[in-house]
Symmetry: D2
Subunit: 289 residues, 4 copies
């Protein structure tokens, strides 16, 4: 475990950088100040980069648009790998027909639509269509009535033996400097326990996320895992998942993990990043484009 002063020296050692989004590139307040330098340097050095994010609330196109709106144009839809994309791949491969019920916003449902499948909010399940529901997806914590629709989801799963996909495994996410919000992954875990069934989870630390990004690159050139470094702010998802997939990892202290307790948390969890760096911001001091 090495403490690194300038994120630039990490970029210099690898050909491909995987970034977590929240806590690394942006926070609830907008972009991490100076992060545009990092992407300018990546472009200048002709390094490849991908955003690997536990987010199923919007499509890669919508996610990229939100970065553009904040002034970061380097992040295009092709550079985004989200847990929502793995959910869509699962539906394409494994659910042949019928209805896919979901908890989330219409936006989140829109982009998981597959040929032959109809998406339906859980609130609209009724006696007439319940027998055609062939999967249930937990997409987003917004867009539905928690009390009515979580209860409806429980009763759906008591009546129908169908696959359940959790498209975002996070249990909570920050909404302001002091407050968090319960995420769809937390709600899904509660319901899994109540119905006693086993759900399918996509999202870091699961290796399928990393594999998906890895395969995007392999399609046009051979690579080795040694060329890649994963950058994240959360030990339990970004670092554990990156390590397990065989990647080098950088823990940045601009999000979930605070400088004051980084050592305690590494010792307590046994999850050790290859490097620790204050942030993913490249310090351009003395550097000429």
């Amino acid at each position: 475990m090495l403490r690194i002063e300038n994120f630039k020296s990490i970029i210099d050692q690898y050909n491909i950088i995987f970034f977590d989004a929240f806590g690394v590139i942006k926070t609830y307040q907008g972009l991490v100040p100076g992060i545009e330098n990092t992407f300018a340097y990546l472009e200048q050095q002709q390094k490849e980069y991908y955003i690997v994010t536990n987010d199923a609330s919007r499509s890669p196109t919508q996610l990229a648009a939100s970065y553009h709106k904040m002034g970061l144009t380097a992040i295009t839809p092709e550079r985004i790998v989200s847990s929502g994309m793995l959910t869509k791949e699962y539906l394409d491969l494994k659910v042949r027909d019928g209805i896919v019920a979901y908890l989330g916003t219409e936006n989140s449902a829109h982009y998981i639509e597959s040929s032959g499948l109809q998406t339906l909010p859980v609130s609209q399940i009724n006696e007439g269509n319940i027998d055609k529901v062939n999967a249930l997806i937990f997409l987003d914590d917004e867009g539905f009535d928690w009390c009515a629709d979580l209860n409806k989801a429980v009763n759906l799963l008591r009546k129908r033996t169908i696959p359940v996909i959790v498209a975002n495994t996070d249990h909570a996410y920050p909404v302001s400097v002091n407050n968090v919000s319960i995420a769809i992954g937390g709600l899904a875990t509660m319901i899994e326990k109540i119905v006693g069934k086993e759900f399918i989870r996509f999202g870091k630390p699961d290796s399928q996320m990393f594999m998906f990004a890895y395969d995007l690159i392999r399609e046009y050139r051979p690579i080795s895992k040694k060329e890649i470094v994963m950058v994240g702010d959360t030990l339990h998802t970004d670092i554990l998942g990156g390590n397990k997939f065989g990647l080098d990892t950088v823990l940045v202290l601009s999000g979930n993990t605070q400088p004051t307790d980084v050592d305690t948390r590494i010792t307590a969890t046994g999850i050790v990043p290859t490097y620790i760096c204050d942030s993913a911001v490249v310090d351009l001091g003395g550097f000429n484009f």
Copy 2:
């Protein structure tokens, strides 16, 4: 494990009967048909009985009134031991002043009020009063906005290190022949996991419930645990808790546990009742008052 035809023969062997409420005396449809015979026989035989229930939604007085309304006058407030009463005892002993925040109905909050304590729904916590909140109680799944107030409870527990009491440990409860509803115990377990703290739970199978009922009797006469039998419909709460407290136990098949899978579930869980009986209804055939 003995199969018993007529619940009457169980009453004849014990001096004191503890009954679970839901699934034993009543269901979502009202009283279990014929259960009034059981209480008539108990009175006639001068047996003692108590209702031991994981219910913090209403006071014993209100619970008794609801039985009276259904036509069962034998159940008086003094005969009811609820997980809400243990919560009140905890507050009396352990929380000296300030505000007790709660999730539940006003009814549920009313009877846990203690001298020196102010109860406040979680929805009304604000920056001006949060520092006076000295406990959080999960009382009932009704009476609040799940999305807004569960998130508020999470953030309260991130800011204040206070005891949290779960006054009903059930994770779900039946609301019709085919449907269940998520109970406050299920919501509490989700939040406990998200905040990473350890909550205090009152309710079967915890022995404090049985001890409370036991002490009510001991106050006026000496007893032995051998005089008592616990009657319930749920292996995991009524039977496990009764067994652990050292009581004989009867599993009745009028609620949670179905006749078709009782053997499978006993083998799967390893929780073995002393007796199994179709219901707690006394068959009066050939019996004259």
Copy 3:
């Protein structure tokens, strides 16, 4: 939460003191230096005291003898409440005949013997006696071959639907300044998960331990929970259990919880003692017997 300089001032406020044993009265090195002053002061002030310990390895008589050997004669067998005693009470009330199989030393098995029951180490279970085994008890991590006998216990529970009692819920215990040992509670939890059944656990934080001690006193005089304080070194067992039972609690820093991380751990777990004190040693400075 109050920081207390001298444990004497705590004794002065209560009539009855419950002590945890390990980390409070003794450590792996012997008695906590000066602890004899505490018991001298208790006797001089005519306070009552009990040792409430998660220990099923030896009988109260043997436990008391071990204190006498170290020079502490104030602890007599009648003052000891152990999780082994609750196990014995359970067997007396709930297991009527046959064989009680156990994992532990012969010493640990000896004192749980009840009339009508034969104890048998798991290693001696065979095809001829397995059908008479009516309970399995996890007593101690010593006295058996872990590999052979844990596997034998798993297979016993696959063949026989019987109650399983865990007589010591601790998962690990200190054996030297730097090392711990896996305790029988940790082994039991592994086996519970493998066989998928639900075991009965006696030991703090479960309230049945506190109730047992409470009842010993009530037998000869009426008491209130407000007269009692529980003293322990472990948040998760002594303090959580004491709090839940309605007692005031003292966390001492002479065992499991270190002065350097006491605040972090209280915040992290949400388990708050009434007082924190360096140790349970009474400082006799300026005090005359």
Copy 4:
């Protein structure tokens, strides 16, 4: 979910077959009778096949030799993907130098050896070498003293913040018609709980196992997940993992899952195979080579 009479009709629909080993190809008694027909048919039809197994006790070469000894020569080392191979890949990529401590047999340790790394049984860790231990691997339940070495592993992890790899995630495995044995995965979970750290697990249902087999094929020709079917006897590992990776799945009833409870278990777990078939044996009736 389709019930299939003859496994031959499944082979006819796919180009690549992944087989679980235990309960599908062999049992504790030797080869599943008739399974050689399946491999003869696969060869005759020029289908590809791989054995995907949670086994880290021996190298692929040794595993293949054990099939040859039983008379099944179709299984060569290149056709075997084991959780031990993923462990070796992890060490190659992530542990650069020092000692890798392990629990298991010498055989199991031998093939995870990597350049620059020394393997050492946990029993041989001492004060002189503990600081050079850079990883701990749980390989096999045999080859060590459970009591001494599991305790030693706990204390190693209290002193050193290092990655821990569990090379076989199973918690138990069958050793005879009536008996199971605790597997290294069960022991690892106990220790993970005691030390409170997060271990890395390789083995089904984790997708990294499936990805490894998938990549072996992709190296020499392009494939689609739709060409592959996974055949296994265990819902929780083979079927859940195969489904999640996007493969069609066959549950065979020759191992862990019995014909009498297959429906109950599918409903209880919510894990649904694409097909159910009595066994993976091809019925050659009326079929001419």
